[in-house]
C-alpha cells in the first residue's frame, strides 16, 4: 500500500499501519525536528524527544479531529507539549538573569531580510533555558502570556519578563551576528 497524500497517511496511522507511520515520519520528521531543536536546545536530546513525539502521535492519532484544525497544527501542538514535558519546571522558575542588556540596536531592514532560518534557529537554540521556551511560545507559536504561564507553570509577570529579556537577547545575538557578518 502506497501512502501518497496526507489523508491516506492519517488513515493508515489510525489503523496502526507501519508503512503509514513510516511515511508520516518521512513527511514531517524534518519539520518536527526543527521544533524540537527550538525548544530543547540540544540536537541530540531533540532527537530523543522527537522519537517520543512520534510514539505519542501514533498513539493519539485517533483523537485528531480535522474540524478543530489542520493536521500540521495538531502535530505542532503535540510536539511543543512533548518538548515542554521534558523541562524541569522548577529550573524554569529559578533561572533569572540579572545582567544588563543592550536595548538599542540599529536594525537595518535589509540585513534582517538577509538572515537565514538556520541562523535564526541557531540563535534561538542558544537562548537560556526558560527564556527559549517562552520566546518560542510567544513569538513563533503566538501563545498569550496566560497560556504560557499555564503551560510552564509560571506567573504571568514572570512570563512577560522572560519574553522581554529573551527578545533583548535575540536582538543582541542577531546584532552580534550582523556585526560579525558585515563588519
Amino acid at each position: 500500500m502506497i501512502f501518497k497524500d496526507i489523508q491516506a497517511i492519517i488513515a493508515g496511522c489510525k489503523d496502526q499501519h507501519h508503512a503509514a507511520q513510516k511515511a508520516l515520519v518521512d513527511l514531517q520528521g524534518d519539520r518536527l525536528y526543527a521544533i524540537c531543536i527550538r525548544y530543547i536546545g540540544d540536537r541530540d536530546k531533540a532527537k530523543d524527544v522527537l522519537q517520543e513525539c512520534f510514539i505519542r502521535i501514533f498513539k493519539y492519532i485517533d483523537k485528531f479531529d480535522p474540524i478543530k484544525g489542520s493536521f500540521e497544527t495538531w502535530l505542532n501542538v503535540l510536539t511543543v507539549r512533548q518538548c515542554l514535558k521534558q523541562l524541569d519546571k522548577k529550573t524554569l522558575k529559578t533561572i533569572e538573569l540579572s545582567t544588563k542588556l543592550y536595548n538599542e540596536f540599529y536594525e537595518d531592514p535589509k540585513v534582517i531580510n538577509q538572515m537565514s532560518a538556520d541562523e535564526i534557529l541557531a540563535k534561538v537554540e542558544s537562548l537560556p533555558e526558560g527564556y527559549r521556551q517562552v520566546f518560542n511560545l510567544a513569538v513563533v507559536e503566538g501563545y498569550s502570556h496566560k497560556q504560557i504561564a499555564k503551560l510552564l507553570d509560571l506567573e504571568e509577570g514572570s512570563s512577560r519578563s522572560k519574553l522581554s529579556r529573551a527578545k533583548q537577547m535575540m536582538r543582541a545575538k542577531l546584532f552580534y551576528l550582523k556585526l560579525h557578518k558585515h563588519g
Binding site: D88, P128, V140
Partner: protein, 481 residues
C-alpha cells in the same frame, strides 16, 4: 516598527522551518522504542502475576518439612534383677523425687534451669517448629520415669574425641530407658565416673550478641549544585554561554545491581523467655549479598517506576551450646540391695544404663536463598553528569530455600527443611544515592538502602517470633535501552 519586523521575520522563518534528520535512523529508533516499551509492560505484568501467583501458592503449600528427630524406642531388659529393682525401689525413688522437687522450688536452682530448658527444647521439637535458629536440637531425653538416680557429687569437664567441650552429669538407670536418636553424629561421652553437675556446669557461657551498628548513610552534599552559575551577558560572550539543561528525558533503562547488607535480627517471645534469652546471646546478625536486575521506566518529571528480579543469599554463623544427654551401658553399678536376716545389707553390682547430661558446643552455618520481586517508585534529579535519586520499593518474596550445616560435625550432615514461614512478610525498603553518567548509555550508582519495616520470617505459632531488617549498600549499572 523594527522590533515588530524582526519578530515577524523570526516567526516566518521558523514556523515551517525544517532541519534535515536521518529518517531511517529515526524510524528504526521509534520502532525499537515501541518494541521495548511493549516488552517492558509485558515483563512487568508477567512478574506481577508471577509474584501474586507465587504468594498465593506459598500460602497454600505446607513446606515446613524438617528432618525431625524421630524417637527410636529401644527396650532393653538388662536383667531381671534390674527390672525387679525398679519396682522394689519405687517408694525410695519417690522419696528422692520429692526431695528433688523441693530442691527445684528454688528458681535459681541449676537443675531446674536445666529441666526448663530441656522442656522448652522438647516442646519445640514436638510442635515441629525447629527453625534454623532454634538450634536446640533434641539430643536425648531422659526417661521421665527414671529421674536423678544415685547422683553423686563429683563433676568433671572433659574433651571428647570429636573435640567437643562437654560437661557431664552421670545418672544410673537400672531400668529400661527410652532412647531418642540424635539428628547428628552421636556423642561418645566416655566418662567412667558418676558426676553431679554443679550450677556453673549448666550455665551456658553466652557470648553477647553485638547489636547491629547502623550504617552511616552519607548523603551527597548538593551545595555545589544548589546555585545556578553566575551569568555574564554581553554581545561578545553570548556565543560561549552555556546553560545546564534538564536531563529528565523519558525512557527505559535496564540496570544490573549487586549489594551487601547486614540484617538486624530481632526476636521476641511471650512464653519461652529462657530459650529467647539463650538465643539472643548466642546468635549474631545475618549478612546478605544480592544480585539482580531492574527494568525501569522514567516517567513524568523525573519520576520513575521499576521492577525486576533479585536473588539474595542470607547467611549466619553461630556457635551454640546445648544441653544434651546420652545413655550408655556400664558395669560396676549397684543393681540390687539385699537385706539379710541378720540385718546386714549386701549390694549386688552389675551392668546398668547410665545417662550423661552434657553441654555440647557446635558451630552452625545457615544459608537462606531468596528470590524477590521488587516494585519501586522513585524520583531522580540530574545536575550535569551527576544525579541523585531516592526511591521506595515493595518486595514480594517469590521463593526461599534453606540449607544448614553443622561445621564441626561432618559436612555431609546437611540440615534440611525450611525454617522460614510459607510466606515471608512484605518487605519495604527505601534507598537514596548518587550516580555518575559516564556516557549517554551508562550511569553508575551507589545507593545506601534501609528497610522501612521489620519483616516477619517465621510461622505465626512459633515459640519465638523473628523479624529481620536490612541495612545495606547497593551498586547499580544502569543502561539506557
Amino acid at each position: 516598527m523594527d522590533k515588530n519586523r524582526l519578530e515577524q521575520k523570526i516567526k516566518d522563518e521558523l514556523t515551517n522551518h525544517q532541519v534535515p534528520i536521518d529518517k531511517e535512523a529515526l524510524w528504526n529508533n521509534i520502532h525499537k522504542k515501541k518494541k521495548n516499551r511493549g516488552l517492558f509492560f509485558w515483563l512487568s505484568g508477567l512478574m506481577l502475576i508471577a509474584g501474586m501467583g507465587a504468594t498465593i501458592l506459598f500460602q497454600q503449600t505446607k513446606n515446613h518439612e524438617w528432618v525431625k528427630a524421630e524417637p527410636i524406642t529401644e527396650h532393653k531388659d538388662l536383667n531381671e534383677n534390674g527390672t525387679n529393682q525398679s519396682q522394689t525401689n519405687a517408694s525410695q525413688l519417690e522419696n528422692e523425687n520429692t526431695k528433688d522437687a523441693d530442691k527445684n522450688e528454688d528458681p535459681t536452682n541449676p537443675a531446674k534451669l536445666l529441666q526448663t530448658k530441656k522442656l522448652l527444647n522438647n516442646q519445640e521439637i514436638q510442635n515441629g517448629h525447629q527453625q534454623a535458629h532454634n538450634q536446640e536440637i533434641s539430643i536425648q531425653t531422659k526417661n521421665p520415669s527414671a529421674p536423678s538416680l544415685n547422683q553423686e557429687s563429683n563433676s568433671s569437664n572433659f574433651k571428647n574425641t570429636n573435640g567437643l567441650n562437654t560437661q557431664t552429669n552421670k545418672t544410673t538407670f537400672p531400668i529400661p530407658l527410652n532412647k531418642t536418636k540424635l539428628p547428628f553424629k552421636e556423642h561418645n561421652a566416655s566418662a567412667t565416673t558418676i558426676d553431679k553437675v554443679k550450677e556453673e556446669d549448666f550455665a551456658i557461657s553466652l557470648k553477647q550478641v553485638s547489636s547491629i551498628a547502623s550504617l552511616p548513610i552519607n548523603f551527597l552534599t548538593l551545595n555545589s549544585f544548589s546555585e545556578f552559575p553566575p551569568i555574564k551577558f554581553s554581545p561578545v560572550n553570548i556565543e560561549n554561554r552555556k546553560v545546564e539543561k534538564s536531563k529528565n528525558v523519558k525512557g527505559f533503562y535496564f540496570e544490573l545491581l549487586g549489594g551487601y547488607a547486614l540484617i538486624n535480627k530481632k526476636m521476641s517471645s511471650e512464653t519461652a523467655t529462657d530459650l529467647l534469652e539463650a538465643r539472643e546471646n548466642m546468635e549474631t546478625p545475618l549478612e546478605q549479598i544480592n544480585l539482580g536486575f531492574n527494568l525501569r521506566h522514567q516517567i513524568k518529571a523525573g519520576f520513575y517506576l521499576q521492577s525486576g528480579l533479585i536473588w539474595s543469599r542470607l547467611s549466619e554463623s553461630n556457635n551454640y551450646k546445648e544441653l544434651a544427654s546420652e545413655t550408655k551401658l556400664e558395669g560396676g553399678h549397684v543393681i540390687l540391695e539385699i537385706t539379710q536376716p541378720n540385718s546386714d545389707v549386701l549390694f549386688q553390682t552389675g551392668e546398668a544404663l547410665v545417662t550423661y547430661d552434657t553441654i555440647r558446643t557446635y558451630e552452625v552455618y545457615n544459608t537462606y536463598d531468596k528470590w524477590d520481586l521488587p516494585i519501586g517508585l522513585g524520583y531522580q534529579k540530574s545536575f550535569g553528569k551527576w544525579c541523585i535519586e531516592g526511591d521506595v520499593n515493595f518486595v514480594l518474596n517469590l521463593n526461599h530455600t534453606f540449607k544448614g550445616y553443622l561445621i564441626n560435625e561432618e559436612l555431609d550432615k546437611l540440615r534440611k527443611g525450611n525454617p522460614f514461614a510459607k510466606r515471608i512478610g512484605l518487605r519495604t525498603f527505601a534507598s537514596i544515592g548518587a550516580g555518575y553518567e559516564f556516557n549517554k548509555k551508562l550511569t553508575l550508582w551507589l545507593k545506601p538502602n534501609f528497610d522501612l519495616n521489620p519483616w516477619k520470617v517465621n510461622v505465626p505459632e512459633s515459640l519465638i517470633e523473628q523479624t529481620y531488617q536490612n541495612y545495606g549498600l547497593q551498586v547499580y549499572a544502569r543502561l539506557k535501552i
